[in-house]
C-alpha cells in the first residue's frame, strides 16, 4: 500500500493491518519515523506534489519488491502539518527471510529521503525555514546504486 496521509498516522495500527495482509511471510520489518521533539521545533509542514509523490512511492515499492524478493511493501507518508513526537513516515516489508525485509525497508527509507517530491518546512520560535536533504541522505541513497542484492 502507498499513501499520502493528511491526518495523523498510527504506526501500530498500520503494522497490524500490514501483518494481517502478509500471509505466508516469515519476516516482517517496519520502520516508523518520528518528528524529533528537540531543538525547539514547533511544527513540520510537508509540501508535496501529489501525482509525482505517489508515482515515486510506487517506483520505490516495486524496486524494493523486485530487488529484495519481498512479497509486500507499504509506505505511508504524512503530508501537511506534523507536530513534534508525531509519526511522519511508516514503511514495512514482508519477506520469507529477515535479511530481505530489513534491506527492503532500509532501501525504501534511503530512497524516499532523496527521491520523492516532498519538502519539509520547519517552524521554530524564530520563524519558518525550508529544509534541504542532508549530504548524508544522498550518501545513504547512493549506497544502493551498486547493490545487486
Amino acid at each position: 500500500m502507498i499513501a499520502l496521509a493528511p491526518d495523523p498516522i498510527d504506526p501500530a495500527a498500520l503494522l497490524a493491518d500490514f501483518t494481517r495482509g502478509a500471509t505466508g511471510a516469515g519476516a516482517i520489518v517496519s520502520f516508523s519515523g518520528i518528528v524529533r521533539p528537540d531543538g525547539g521545533v514547533r511544527e513540520l509542514w510537508l509540501d508535496h506534489h501529489e501525482f509525482l509523490a505517489l508515482a515515486a512511492f510506487e517506483a520505490i515499492e516495486s524496486a524494493a519488491r523486485e530487488r529484495f524478493a519481498v512479497a509486500n511493501v507499504t509506505i505511508v507518508h504524512r503530508i501537511g502539518s506534523v507536530g513534534p513526537g508525531e509519526p511522519i513516515v511508516f514503511v514495512a516489508a514482508a519477506a520469507t527471510h529477515r535479511r530481505a525485509a530489513f534491506d527492503a525497508v532500509d532501501f525504501a527509507m534511503d530512497r524516499l529521503k532523496t527521491g520523492v517530491p516532498l519538502w519539509k518546512r520547519e517552524t521554530r520560535s524564530d520563524g519558518s525555514h525550508w529544509i534541504d536533504a542532508r549530504a548524508a541522505d544522498h550518501e545513504d541513497a547512493a549506497r544502493w546504486t551498486e547493490y545487486h542484492g
Binding site: H49, L52, A55, V89, V116, W119, D132
Partner: protein
C-alpha cells in the same frame, strides 16, 4: 499556461501563476530563463521541471503542455 511551485519556491515565487508564454519561449529551459529574469530562484539548476506531471531530464517543447511544475531539491522522510 499554469505554473506551479513547490517547497521554498512557494515563498520565492508563488504557489501558482497563470502566464501567457510569449512565442519565442518554446521549450522548458527557455521558460526557466524567461521566468528567471523576475524570479532568479528558478535559475538554480537544482530546480527540476515537470511538464504535465512528467519530470524532465532534458529540455522539452512546451507545445501542447498545459501545466509546468518547478521542483526544488526534495527533503522527505
Amino acid at each position: 499556461m499554469k505554473l506551479r511551485f513547490f517547497g521554498r519556491l512557494r515563498d520565492a515565487v508563488a504557489d501558482e501563476l497563470e502566464v501567457e508564454v510569449p512565442p519565442h519561449v518554446e521549450d522548458s529551459e527557455q521558460l526557466r530563463v524567461w521566468l528567471g529574469r523576475e524570479h532568479p530562484a528558478l535559475l538554480d539548476s537544482a530546480v527540476k521541471i515537470a511538464l504535465d506531471d512528467r519530470i524532465l531530464v532534458a529540455p522539452a517543447t512546451l507545445a501542447g503542455a498545459s501545466e509546468v511544475a518547478f521542483l526544488p531539491p526534495v527533503s522527505g522522510g
